[in-house]
Amino acid sequence: MKANHEQRRKERLDRGIKVRSDGIYALMSWRELCYLFFPRLVLIVGMLILPLLVPIYWQKVVSYVCIYALLTLSFDFLAHFVGLVSLGGAFFIGTGGYIAAILNTSFGLPPLLTIPVATILGAFICTLLLIPCLPLRGVYFAIVTLMYPLLLTRVIEALAIFGGTDGIVGVTSFTNHYFIIIMLLFFLFGLRRLVNQDLGLVLRAVKDNDQAVRASGISITYYKTIAVFIASAMGCLGGAYLAHIFGWAGLSSFGLDFSILPIAATVIGGAGTLVGPVLGAFILVPLNEWLRDFGTFRILLYALILLAFIIFRSEGIMVYGQRKYHQFEKWVKV
């Protein structure tokens, strides 16, 4: 509203190019092709050249970022496409990490074998442990996913199994940024595709209205199990890789950071967009590293940034960006 009390509102118009209609791309010109592929190309090329651009110290951060991005992706997938609010990042990372470490140290498997095995086996174990709370609705899933890492750390501590408080040392070191970047891109685009397939629609329907899904003759527990398997596989992959970066798997693999940061990254990036949360992780994790110089003061800065986002851009960067990209905006008189 201006000083002369002229009423105005923002009008939004979709850009003229409607290229996507149910999996068929109807492209009319190079311009439309660019309009469609430019954002994807920026993402893919940007991620692939990232390890070449950053200094040595930050090279390792690229891997951390990707691991956190996988967790964030799994959080966003479960929360906004299946309706399960998961605080299981720590659970998944810990399970994946310990399995990879055990396979590597006790059975002598190379990292190229331990990571895939830990991904599948870890996802299997996580899913199995989470199945009992899947038929329940509400906050139970969040509580149980948060409880398991706490429980497992106590069990490992008390029984002194898997190296006890010292953790498992001497895990073969394996660091390959491209491996985790490509896995991240694979899961990102795979999930984007999945949620629009018929299977993905069923998952979204479970979130929207589980009673109607049951009335359709579909077992909601079965489909929740599938979703949890996919999500925990992502987390376990990250955990297994993390164990090989550190050369160690220990109690801090069950750290609550892995559960909390994905939520913050999802808030910043834009919930329900899948790309947004990845973007959020790419902002928050480096920020975390950068603020390390400030010591514990960084928690305050961190909280302030989050607060600012929740107040001023609660929709998240990606939702905002998508709107700007896909729509014209202009002010019109009412």
Binding site: V202, N209, Q211, A212, V213, A215, S216, G217, I218
Partner: protein, 262 residues
Amino acid sequence: MSAQPILQVQNMTKAFGGILALSRVSFDLHQGEILGIIGPNGSGKTTLVNCITGFINLTAGKVFFRGKNITGKAAHKIADMGITRTFQIMRPYYSLPAYKNLVIPLFSPRAKRTGGWRGGGKLGDRNTVSIDILEEMGFERESYVPYKMASTLPTGYLKRLELARCLSLKPEIILCDEVFSGLSMSEIASMVPLIERLQMDGITLIMIEHRLRELFRVANRVMVMNFGEKLIEGTPEEVMADEKVKEAYFGSEKVEEVTGYA
């Protein structure tokens, strides 16, 4: 009508704490008929549907489908056998377009087993089949209505969407929980032929209704409930003539005025 009832309910009882929502309700449902269930508010009609379809567990009693005991089975297993229901408060997937709403039931094991609607799958993918079913339920194919978000559809279309969801499972029984309520007269007038079509297609229906005039037009038999108990069962005329029904359901009002039935 075949000798064996398609659905048998025996002494169905459901207690919510100390409140008896259903008390020893028994009835038979025969192949191909439309059974109307009427009764005042809170007489246990919706609880009956919930109990038959497995959405809530019954306290006592048995339900038989084609002679097979289905008491206490999970809701999705019962739906998988072909006993489907609509919800009184419509439950579409609001974030999906109308036709995508049907992709979910078409993804169910039953729809896959029966090959989708009229052989679906071979007829096209689930989107195509769902548009076909929506057209049968009165969504104009050429219009934009099937493509609209379910959250923007008016009540009449949501009720049709509920029926379409049942229909995409190729059901044997549909339990309609107040499909006419909340609709305008013209919307009801266009719904009645749809119900008649379903019966002609060989689907057995249980209809819970408050709109008696329309119900009595389509129903073969009517069951009256009050305070969780079955009062009487019979043809619409028999039921209307019964004194107990007049008392319980209509109070002091004259039946003729409400229903137009003499």
